[in-house]
């Protein structure tokens, strides 16, 4: 009975607070999960380095604002551009040369890229935790009814929705987007149809990384501690989110992100004794999904041609 104390005694205000936190976290996971799902959809590979790109974006922001004293609105734009470029560079150097190599090689390369980024950050920025620059406008507390929430918690879902709408517009209503969808459906045919595969793949990484940068900035404001390994757990969870929603499916990634974000916050809210195990939640959901619906909630069932 004691175990369920938290569950039974929660007040409405408290619950609302947790819901806001859950939606915020879910939005951040969604933004990052999209990068994983888009890359997997086209290249059938897990971009292990994606989580570390989030980490690098946070460091870029730190340097822009805290070290070089560039106003935050300019810095954030710079961060998005720099991160998008970083994503494209990683694709060019670590993945493109191995496009015709056996699957495992690309996987190892992704791991290597991730490892390299983490070690570079550790070396360049030292392992000491740093503080993401504070933006008073966004980190101030706002009172809504009887609950206090950080302004950023309200901003996150809004920015996320705007980003998603922009992304869906690109994917569904532009030539580039159509090319991306074609490549993810059938690589070889798309190439034969005259689509420049290299450019489309670069574009995929650029878009995915830009979204990750947006997520990273908001993440940094919400959770200010930066270390070289900050991207690891979120990266794993966001990939799981993409799998849960249906790998290769953008809407699925968003759905998965929210499921994981909300679930994680609410489980710990209702059962505080489990807070040490909060990271395990994502993996348990992964196991359940792999057992009962391996292609994900919104995924399509495909059969391999023999």
């Amino acid at each position: 009975m004691e175990f369920f104390q938290g569950f039974l005694n929660m007040s409405g205000a408290s619950f609302a607070q947790h819901m806001v936190n859950g939606i915020s976290l879910g939005s951040l996971y969604a933004l990052i999960a999209i990068g994983y799902t888009m890359v997997y959809g086209i290249l059938l590979m897990i971009n292990f380095a994606h989580g570390d790109i989030v980490m690098m974006a946070c460091y870029f922001a730190y340097f822009g604002i805290t070290i070089f004293h560039v106003p935050w609105y300019f810095t954030f734009i710079g961060v998005i551009v720099a991160t998008a470029l970083l994503g494209a560079v990683i694709e060019r150097m670590a993945y493109r040369p191995l496009r015709d190599a056996p699957k495992n090689s690309v996987l190892i390369s992704a791991i290597g890229a991730s490892f390299l980024l983490e070690n570079l950050a550790n070396y360049l920025f030292s392992g000491r935790p740093m503080s993401f620059p504070d933006i008073p406008l966004l980190s101030q507390n706002i009172a809504v009814g009887s609950i206090k929430i950080q302004a950023i918690s309200l901003v996150i879902p809004v920015i996320t929705v705007i980003s998603l709408l922009a992304l869906l517009h690109i994917v569904n209503h532009t030539k580039t987007g159509m090319a991306m969808r074609a490549v993810s459906k059938d690589y070889e045919i798309a190439r034969v149809m005259g689509i420049n595969i290299d450019n489309i793949i670069s574009m995929t990484f650029i878009i995915g990384s830009a979204l990750a940068a947006i997520g990273a900035i908001m993440w940094g404001i919400r959770y200010p501690g930066i270390t070289p390994y900050l991207g690891v757990m979120p990266g794993l969870k966001c990939f799981i989110a993409a799998v849960i929603g249906g790998i290769g499916n953008i809407k699925g990634a968003v759905l998965g992100g929210f499921i994981l974000g909300l679930g994680e916050i609410l489980i710990v809210a209702f059962f505080p004794e489990l807070s040490g195990y909060r990271d395990a939640f994502a993996f348990i959901v992964l196991i359940i999904i792999l057992f009962y619906r391996p292609t994900g909630i919104l995924g399509e069932r495909t059969t391999e041609k023999v």
Binding site: I46, L98, I108, G112, F115
Partner: protein, 355 residues
């Protein structure tokens, strides 16, 4: 008969190496002994990873987690009972296990079996599905094992770690364990089951068509890999004398990935070569982490972290330019050595002609 000759030669080699380890144990200083021990332990774990990744083609990243299970089994059960209250000072040790003390060899085996059991539990859902997910799932589980260890304070002392483990740094002992591991795995790979593993690596559907139950064999490889990783982890814990959840971050697994990529995924001798290079490298590249002075000027590059940057760059370079590593899927066999000794130059010419 070729097989008898090979067996005798291998036995002689092992005896010679054992004598070498005796010498190292007695005559060389503790720093060198530690590196040799670490090298042997890394070889065990690297080889265990090769069983799944190299021979069966299943990409697993869970070695750190299985090591942790083995290390903690040794940690929990070999600390003398009298000292335990001192170690478990924050949260007392769980009464179920507080009184159980085992000799190291038993703790190693128990640790290995526990790791294999966990591998079975993880493998059951994940091995039935596409290979890509195995990497993420095993990586995640490795972290979850660590999280559980950090939280189960009454069993593992949580984040405080366990100290006062009776140290095990006898090179001969560790050599024997390493030799047994290598001998067993070599024998397994050269058996029908080993060939079944390779078949799965080459073409899963064709392997299935030949009657090889994919799930059963992948699970077997996974469990054997975990068993030996657990043993390696147990030795690791005993060598260090303490265990701490932070020792077993997933980044530890990357060291072993480098070992097998460098040595050759799918080569037993490659695992040993890779282990030697990586262990020696990790030690001797420490100089890169220290500030370097040449003629009184500080070179700005050299500070903590450079060593690992170079290592990750090495991993990238390997996979991009040298995918097969040193040995690829080949082995150094007695036949080849003898042919080489008889005709050193002709050995390489002949290889070229048959290409």
């Amino acid at each position: 008969m070729k097989n008898k000759r090979d067996l005798i030669l291998s036995a002689i080699l092992l005896i010679v190496l054992f004598c070498v380890s005796w010498f190292v144990n007695g005559e060389l200083d503790s720093y060198v002994r530690r590196i040799v021990n670490l090298c042997l332990i890394y070889a065990i774990i690297g080889l265990s990873m090769n069983v799944t990744n190299g021979f069966t083609g299943q990409f697993s990243l869970g070695q750190a987690g299985f090591m942790a299970i083995g290390a903690y089994t040794v940690g929990i059960f070999t600390v003398p009972v009298e000292l335990r209250a001192n170690v478990f000072y924050a949260v007392p040790m769980n009464p179920l296990i507080a009184g159980i003390q085992m000799p190291v060899w038993l703790a190693l085996i128990v640790g290995g079996l526990l790791a294999a059991l966990v591998a079975f539990l993880i493998g059951t859902p994940v091995l039935r599905l596409r290979g890509d997910y195995l990497a993420i799932a095993t990586l995640g589980f490795s972290e979850i094992i660590r999280i559980c260890i950090t939280n189960a304070s009454s069993f593992t002392n949580g984040a405080l770690g366990i100290k006062d483990i009776p140290p095990l740094n006898d090179v001969r002992y560790i050599f024997v364990v390493t030799a047994i591991t290598f001998a067993f795995i070599a024998a397994l790979i050269n058996s029908s089951y080993g060939r079944a593993f390779k078949a799965i690596r080459e073409d899963e559907i064709a392997a299935e068509a030949m009657g090889i139950n994919l799930y059963k064999h992948k699970c077997l490889a996974f469990m054997i890999s975990a068993f030996f990783a657990g043993i390696g982890g147990g030795l690791y814990g005993a060598l260090l004398g303490t265990v701490d959840p932070k020792n077993f971050l997933f980044t530890l697994t990357y060291n072993f990935l480098l070992i097998i990529v460098l040595g050759g995924m799918g080569s037993i001798t490659g695992s040993m070569l890779g282990a030697v290079i990586v262990t020696a490298g990790l030690e001797y590249l420490r100089i890169f982490d220290e500030p370097l002075e040449i003629f009184g000027t500080m070179i700005p590059l050299f500070r903590p972290g450079l060593r690992m940057v170079m290592f990750s760059a090495l991993l990238m370079a390997c996979v991009l330019f040298w995918r097969h590593g040193i040995m690829g899927t080949r082995e150094i066999t007695w036949s080849k050595l003898i042919a080489f000794c008889k005709n050193p130059l002709g050995f390489f010419k002949r290889k070229g002609a048959s290409q």
